[in-house]
Amino acid sequence: MSAHVPDQMPRYIGKPILRKEDLRLITGAGRYSDDFNLPGQAYAAFVRSPYAHARIISIDASAALAMDGVLAVFTGKDIAAAGLNPIPHDNSLMGTAELQRQGADIILVNSDGSPVVSPAHQLLPETHAHYAGEAVAMVVAETSDIAKDAMTVVDVEYEELPFVVDAVAAIAPGAPQIFDRFPRNIGLDGEVGDREGTEAAFAKATKVVSLHTHIQRVTGVTMEPRAATGSYDPETGQYQLYAGSSGVFRHKLELSKVLGVTPDKVRVIAEDVGGNFGTKNNLSVELALTVWAAQQVGRPVKWTSERGEAFLSDYQGRDLTVDIELAMDDEGNFLALRSRNVSNVGAYFASFQPLRKGVSLMSNVYDVPVGFVHAIGAITNTGTTAPFRSAGRPEAIFVMERLVDIAAQRFGFDRIELRRRNLIKPDQLPYRNIAGLVYDSGDYAASMEAVLRMVDWDGFPLRAEEAKSRGCRRGIGVANYIEITTGIPREWAEIRVDPESGFELAIGTMSSGQGHETSFAQVAAEWLGVSIEQVRLVAGDTDRLVFGGGSISGRSMRFASVVIREAIDRVVEQAAKVVAHVAGVDPAEVTFAEGVLTAGSTTTEMTIMDVARLIQSESRLPDNLRKPLRGEHDHFFPDPGYPFGAQACEVEVDLATGTVTIIDIAAIDDVGRAINPLILHGQTIGASVQGLGQALMEHIIYDEETGQLLTGSLMDYALPRAEGVPNFKVAITETPAPSNPLGIRAGGEGGTTPALAMLVNAVVDALKEFGIEHLEMPLTPQRVWSAIHDKVGNTSDPDLAKLLRS
């Protein structure tokens, strides 16, 4: 018995349905983490280390405790005395090879065979602060203002220690040792690919191009800063956390491990989440501390991050140094690739996913017969980095797409021809890449050709000429991409049918802007044969969930479509038994189509809701048929998804100021199957703009001399604004993925993945006449202007000189 509905005439799937959640959010009725309050709540503020690396000699809280309204001050000694455990970061995605094999990402373990582990991330450190901004004490007070005032008089005595903030410097001999457990500050040292075969290929190559580049650290800047309300009920021993995240179930599991209790003692609730992009996936110390502190003070404890605090204490993104070489023959066929990727994982590395995913995709969509990647996770005295929008993939694609453009420029190939020559062809799929990933299906060249048409690549030379007459230079760039969607490989859903409240869908993944309330209702309503208004989503309360993996790595709709479908099938099976009983036929004779159950050749026809009403009202039904309609499904997903596509843009560089303006931009994404194109286009544009932000202006900077975070507010950290962002042309293609019945690849992160490379490729193209081959991100006006002037500062060309003079 299947809930299958013929695909020919979908009512909802594939339609740009306007979002249900919007009605709440556009009228000010959203419920974000700071909107939540509990009676009698107290407020927390955190004392943070001003030093990048320091021994905590003593903490004197007496002045703070003497203030009116201060309830408590907690330090790392209290945490240790309470026997709390460190945050179990990513322990289903790191660890040993056996553990990693549960997921679909490549195995990345230490070359010496040791399992990948992180330094113990205690809620408050007992003896040492490991980065500037790390919380070392927590003040709890009657009001937020009192807590913040008291925070300033907590007297912490530190002994400053040598520190290192740069990843490459951290793993070099002689660098200050940060943790005893990790010699040379190396948290992971592993390799994938075929080193021997690669060296042999390089030995024979006639053309080699190399690149040393640093994909800089950025931070998520979710418009909603982190906030949490923790509470504890001594009667039941139940802890509760109200806080946004990628998924409440994961926070429940991690929090229960920290507290040392069974998961049934922890409830996590979230309603609306004001952006995540990966930064809120991992449990953070502040969130856990509100819960534990609530138990200590006997009142709920609330904490809301200030924006400056967020810059210091959020999990940050990217920060990868790559040294890579690409070998090719005289015709431009790619022969081999070798790379060293050094990821700056920060002080308490919470995740190796960015490093791991990036390492697996270095060859992008090109046919590279052999290669190897040496992967290093470097610990430094900086904030912890974790997955951020397409973790690791924009970095990998950036490097390869830059290499292709550099090779073309250096050896005289046409950039598009070089790509055409080397793109994996459809008949080569399934294709095993250098890291062992097997790409499933797709026409990568077709995507590239389409995006080139969308920006009128062929018409560029004329437009470039015109711009020159205005003292500007135009450039055009393209980047192809493939990315891998995995995430925690298990998901669960349940459908409950109630005559009064309709269809309730509970599922373990959650939205932070992706529109699940609408898109999940679309698929459920499609298959149930009901209207989308009748389906209600429950995702933000662990009391309702058996399991959940949350929204990470493009897993939500991919997995949701399967578990929702199966859960509906169970409901239909149960309903069919009732219909069969009513009609006096065997259940096997009952069919279900377009929302109606039909009892074989009899005239009995009922909708699922009819059955639900019957169950509720008809006392003469046998006991085994009178249970409320309910179906659930728990599924393990071993396969990854491979979204792919391309982006292209045309830019104009003002030589006098170094300002880059994007004139035209286009994106094409193969999402496998589009459930809601409106939502998908929004994802592509928003994701690409995040990538443009990194390419043009964003940069988290820790000063090497002082270890301080220099970019600690929105005055220092630039973000794309309405005035600087172009209008996008977007297109979706649908090559069904083999990994799920609907063929979904995912569409949330493909927009960011090629954007970095595309933008830099375009700007370098604009400046190639000056002999510029590469530019490091972010391409701020200062950097672009300096690059031009460094090359042509003493030009004898009078027009150019006049232009550059400023």
Partner: protein, 172 residues
């Protein structure tokens, strides 16, 4: 402590506040109107935008005492689910929000813009919204939403505009 009398969405409130109390804190905590959001601490992000005495302002950088005797419009007073303001209608029709956190500020600023300039160009819209940061949408849907709102305020039928949008897409 200071005594303030402030009209919010047409209703008068009298409260005792500390002089340092921000208007956004007054709205969110003293009045329980949590639709206006706090997104930063340097007046950069615009999530706190409300209309005070006819001007769009950042309520994180105005003290409650500065609004004494004045009139504030917040997102809660703009429209209802059953009766959306044209700009709200536009935000939904054009997918101008994803997480929704910047949205109240965007809507308030957009309404103020259209009162001053009922037929803004795209460049004028982008310039007016330059003080509102969105991290999710990339702004394109927001610009279209303001254009949609402007058209409806000028008399066009929102249902027809929505239908036209659904029929046409960005796709090439």
């Amino acid at each position: 402590m200071a005594n303030v009398i402030i009209r919010v969405n047409g209703e008068t409130f009298e409260r005792e506040v500390e002089p340092r109390r921000l208007l956004v804190e007054f709205l969110r905590e003293d009045l329980g109107k949590t639709g206006t959001h706090v997104g930063c601490d340097t007046t950069q992000c615009g999530c706190c935008t409300v209309i005070l005495n006819g001007d769009a302002i950042k309520s994180c950088t105005i003290l409650a005492v500065q609004a004494d005797g004045g009139s504030v419009e917040t997102i809660e007073g703009v429209g209802t689910k059953e009766n959306l303001h044209p700009v709200q209608r536009g935000f939904r029709a054009c997918h101008a929000l994803q997480c929704g956190f910047c949205t109240p500020g965007m809507i308030m600023n957009s309404i103020a813009l259209l009162r001053d300039n009922p037929a803004p160009t795209e460049a004028e819209i982008r310039h007016a919204l330059d003080g509102n940061i969105c991290r999710c949408t990339g702004y394109q849907g927001i610009v279209e939403a303001v254009q949609f709102g402007a058209k409806v305020l000028a008399g066009e039928d929102p249902d027809s505009l929505e239908a036209a949008r659904a029929a046409h897409s960005h796709e090439v």
